[in-house]
């Protein structure tokens, strides 16, 4: 059973299609990164899945419960909004205790859970201080703690680290990473490095439509460019050009050319990546030795999630513009 499943989920606000037929499946125990530019429909998706808004069309299930049954869904999820608004007059311990009461936890379990979560989020020292005096990062960490009180089956995180400094981001991302296998994490973000760091699977949304959904490794493989990059020491450019000329003579090489602005860097595009992986390095070393080229770098070009994101979002935008035209 999928942890999250949506079928044609649509949300319309007047003339705006905030979400347009979203069909998505998130497997249990994964950390799912829901990527998209601002206004793509990420927060709308989370609001619909958590029962804070109702879809105009379509259906969805969270932890096996249909979202129209909001009471049963609520008992099985945790939610951290982008800017968690917490009761300023409470202390962190008060808040976690209150949330535990809402979930019907017995008093002993509430005490233990409060202590554990304060430790987990590094707030033990300020457990008795009023939340009103907390920094945004502390509120974010407390927001994560309150979302975990009931040991949720599915945890929704809306831009969980966007407000944090680099240190805080690292800590929270590590915390999220540790949840892998314990619960399903559905994390919306526009920070690609965070997704690369912790997410197993990725969904990219743009203009309310899902552009792609796949495990991160598969996505990176799918969009791998069959190319290699070479870099030589400065002063070796003429010999480097001769090396590239020699490579262009190989039948499985499509092109080999230096970058226009930096003659010391070149890209070799191949027809068959497998053959190139086996033979190109030997060819390069042989030619470099013969031509007296001092090489600095030899590297398979791997696309980053950012490359894929920009490419897919760009394609989706072009597609929708063509469709509109």
């Amino acid at each position: 059973m999928a942890a999250i499943r949506t079928e044609g989920m649509t949300k319309v606000y007047g003339p705006v299609h905030a979400l347009d037929g979203l069909t998505l499946t998130v497997e249990p125990g994964t950390v799912f990164g829901f990527l998209g530019p601002n206004g793509a429909g990420k927060t709308t998706t989370i609001r619909l899945l958590t029962g804070m808004a109702k879809p105009t069309r379509g259906r969805a299930w969270v932890a096996g419960e249909e979202i129209s049954n909001s009471g049963r869904v609520a008992a099985r999820i945790g939610y951290l909004p982008e800017e968690p608004a917490l009761y300023r007059w409470m202390t962190p311990a008060d808040l976690l205790d209150h949330v535990g009461r809402l979930f019907g936890l017995p008093s002993q379990e509430r005490r233990t859970r409060t202590k554990d979560l304060l430790e987990l989020t590094g707030l033990s020292q300020v457990g008795k201080r009023r939340i009103g005096g907390f920094s945004r990062g502390m509120r974010q960490r407390l927001g994560l703690a309150q979302a975990l009180v009931n040991r949720p089956e599915v945890l929704f995180l809306d831009e969980p680290v966007s407000a944090l400094d680099p240190g805080g981001r690292k800590e929270v991302l590590e915390m999220i990473g540790r949840l892998r296998g314990q619960c399903t994490v559905f994390m919306s973000t526009h920070i690609l490095q965070d997704v690369e760091r912790v997410c197993d699977a990725v969904g990219i949304i743009d203009h309310g439509k899902l552009v792609v959904e796949a495990p991160q490794a598969e996505l990176l493989d799918r969009y791998t460019v069959p190319a290699f990059e070479l870099e030589c020491e400065e002063g070796s450019e003429p010999a480097f050009e001769a090396l590239l000329e020699a490579l262009r003579g190989l039948e499985w090489v499509t092109s080999a050319a230096a970058a226009p602005q930096a003659g010391t860097v070149a890209r070799v595009v191949v027809k068959d990546l497998e053959i190139a992986r086996r033979e190109l390095l030997a060819q390069v070393v042989h030619q470099a030795s013969a031509l007296d080229v001092i090489l600095r770098r030899y590297q398979i070009v791997t696309p980053s999630l950012e490359d894929i994101f920009l490419r897919l979002v760009g394609e989706a935008t072009e597609g929708s513009q063509e469709g509109a035209a």
């Binding site: 609520a74 608004a85 917490l86 209150h98 009461r101 809402l102 019907g104």
Partner: protein
């Protein structure tokens, strides 16, 4: 389960944000000051330059004046407190985002609303009990002991009267998306309810009649205003149900 958890939080909030203290101070102060003010009015008039000429026109204060002063002050300031305490109850939580964080948990929206009402009702009950105790003691000290059962009944009527305004303002707070809008809607609703008794024949059916009924009990223990009681309870229920339906349909 979630009812008691939410009610506990609402009561704690009233205490920790000092709103309960403010409510208690205002109601107790007017409860104590009312008989005192009734007793000292002629003497105060005498202190005003030229006021001594009117002294002979002012009758000697009686226990009825003390009760009338108590009713006048409490009914006016109680409504004001009810309005101020309630106008942001839901709107502020929606505006700040705390409502989202709580309602995404197993806390039905009806319970979220009802516990706010019950917490304020309990706060008013406690504060009014203290105000009533103080007012009774000072009236007894300065005049004579009022009829205890009538005094208790009067305070219960005042309590119910305040609850009508709490429910009405809670509805305004639920409709509004911000505290400012809630304040405007609330004051509008209070103004309408305050103006309705000016329509001939309508006053005896409205919540204000509860206060008149409570006051009349001191002179006529058989006085009754059941329609006003029924309409007040009906108004409270209608406001709460309307607030629930509206909140249930709102997207947060």
């Amino acid at each position: 389960m979630s009812f008691y958890a939410s009610l506990r939080k609402e009561v704690l909030e009233l205490v920790r944000t000092h709103r309960l203290l403010v409510m208690a101070v205002i109601l107790i102060a007017f409860g104590l000051a009312s008989p005192l003010f009734a007793k000292l009015l002629p003497e105060m008039m005498g202190l005003v330059p030229g006021g001594e000429d009117f002294l002979s026109l002012i009758p000697t204060p009686t226990i009825s004046d003390a009760i009338a002063q108590y009713v006048k002050n409490l009914s006016l300031f109680g409504v004001l407190v009810a309005y101020l305490m309630t106008m942001g109850a839901v709107a502020t939580e929606k505006e700040r985002g705390t409502a989202v964080l709580m309602l995404v948990k197993p806390l039905p929206r009806a319970v979220f609303l009802l516990t706010k009402f019950v917490a304020l009702a309990l706060a008013f009950l406690g504060c009014l009990a203290l105000a009533g105790l103080g007012g009774y003691y000072y009236t007894m000290l300065l005049f004579s002991a009022p009829d205890l059962s009538a005094w208790v009944a009067l305070n219960l009527m005042l309590w119910l009267y305040f609850l009508v305004y709490v429910a009405l303002t809670l509805l305004a707070s639920t409709i509004a998306k911000s505290q400012a809008v809630a304040a405007g809607l609330g004051i509008g609703a209070i103004a309408v309810l305050g103006a309705l008794p000016s329509i001939p024949g309508l006053g005896k059916y409205l919540p204000g009649q509860l206060v008149t009924w409570g006051t009349a009990l001191f002179t006529d223990p058989s006085a009754r205003s059941w329609p006003a009681l029924g309409i007040s309870l009906g108004l409270i229920a209608a406001c709460l149900v309307a607030a629930w339906i509206i909140l249930d349909r709102q997207e947060l």
